[in-house]
Symmetry: C2
Subunit: 276 residues, 2 copies
DNA sequence: GAATAATTCTCAATTATTGAGATGTCAATT
DNA sequence: AATTGACATCTCAATAATTGAGAATTATTC
């Protein structure tokens, strides 16, 4: 139960067999390493037999893998396949790629592309100018919404209903001295962000890390995602970052425009080229 | 129903609510683009009501996303998060990374890292020397096993039971003139591969593409994955590729050795560093 | 090798799933 | 505009699958 990975407990009880099964899946993902059945059952609120049965079912269906030797279960490779599809069709990353590349070549700083998922920030792409890109290693990571630049930038442009739901899922854990730890403080900041059009993170999540972030909004102002540029406190200050906001906003606009056209292509020819 | 994406129909009937739900998930993934409910229901063998209910359930749980305007469902972003975990803990990619980088810098050719999943080849990493790396865009892709280098390299070193199951899932669709289109031909090739220790793909999947591939085997000869180097027919021939086999095998050995140590770390400190 | 923990199995009661059809909703067409 | 047809959602009683406590089995620890 690491503070970071605080994924709001999904409803594991009541009706809904599939919901419960997916809950097990989440528990395994939260544990984040191969886990024993007993451990998983302890983390769940379900009776022994049920959990063991679910583990078998999920394993049979490839959602989990099972190492009989060590007697551990872990997230199965089948999900990697599903994720490929997910990432391609349900994330902004493919659409944003060219625009982010362009941005990266200009600003030469770490850029994150993120979306909201279940009240948390889901990073779908990351550009780090010096090192090449690390594959999934950053895409797929989740982070808190209330204390990150992208998180706040996105929350600020959420509809009333959506915002309420996301707010309810924030833990307000104090990561640093600057972390906003109350709904009131956060809402105040969100109002400001909405007004000026971008968010800042002043070491609220991690000491020494500051960033600016802008939302990515569709033409009809629907929130699509967020985009941030990160810097190390000391090496750069907010005055430097502020200068980047216009170009970031322009990038966001371009991404949104492309997203409108590309998000639901009628025919999606799978990139033919593939090795062997 | 593209020929490429021929994923064997999973059991959608009989007992097993979760199985059926996951089947729906697969159907959506197979379609590969946002799909209407009716389309999904048609692809399934389940009655209307059931499918619609599953779609709602899966959407509620974030496995699918739903665009009410266009009335389409598509794979949800939540899977991207799960996949991050999957990729990290259930794929060879993180472990293999350094070794593949080393290999890439020496051979300067396209390298694929793959694993077997449900009878198909699941690519978990790809190194393309010239362009940097494209994120998920290649990881997560699936390909046929019977007509690709890695696929055959892996099949050749499968246990009897495992091989039977994988064989049963091959479509033997003829992609090119060289494609092996019968179990017999394939088995003969597998015997040869087992003997000499590596596989070749002589334009069996795609015209003009040739490759060599080696299996990645644990110390106790358990199949972990496969590794291939691709070339364009004409620019290079097999004599060139054969020269690479030793270094590939050495890389495979190193990966296997690391995998034994790293695959199930007791404590897995999530890479702390993460933007904002 | 005994003791303890972890996992699998058993089985009747229960309850959630089912699915055919009726109802509601949207979009295109005449 | 109004009608049509396709699509999506909802209803509800019968059914069949899930459930879960506990026993039996298997591994692991001391």
């Amino acid at each position: 139960m690491a503070k970071q990975t605080q994924v709001t407990q999904r409803e594991l009880d009541g009706p809904g067999t599939v919901g419960r099964a997916l809950g097990i899946l989440d528990i395994v993902a939260d544990i984040g390493r191969p886990a024993r059945a007993s451990e998983i059952q302890a983390a769940s609120s379900l009776p022994k037999g049920t959990v063991y049965r679910f583990l078998q079912t999920l394993t049979d269906h490839g959602m989990l893998s099972h190492d009989p030797h060590r007697r551990v279960y872990f997230i199965g490779a089948r999900l990697v396949r599903l994720a490929h599809v997910a990432w391609k069709q349900s994330s902004l990353a493919p659409v944003a790629k060219t625009h982010l590349d362009a941005l990266a070549s200009q600003v030469r700083q770490t850029i994150h592309l993120a979306q909201l998922d279940g009240g948390h920030v889901l990073y779908v792409d990351k550009l780090f100018p010096s090192r090449p890109v690390e594959m999934f290693s950053s895409a797929g990571k989740v982070g808190p919404a209330y204390c990150t630049g992208v998180g706040k930038a996105m929350m600020a442009f959420l509809g009333e209903d959506g915002l309420a739901s996301v707010m309810a899922q924030q833990s307000f854990y104090r990561f640093t001295d600057n972390t906003l730890t109350s709904p009131e403080a956060l809402l105040a900041d969100l109002a400001l962000i909405r007004k000026r059009g971008f968010a800042i993170d002043n070491e609220e999540h991690e000491r020494g890390i500051i960033c600016v972030a802008v939302p990515i909004l569709s033409r009809n102002r629907i929130l699509l995602g967020g985009l941030s540029i990160t810097a190390l406190q000391g090496r750069q200050d907010f005055d430097d970052l502020y200068k980047l906001v216009p170009i970031m906003q322009e990038t966001a606009t371009r991404i949104a425009a492309d997203a409108a056209d590309w998000r639901y292509p009628e025919i999606d020819i799978e990139t033919k080229e593939l090795g062997t």
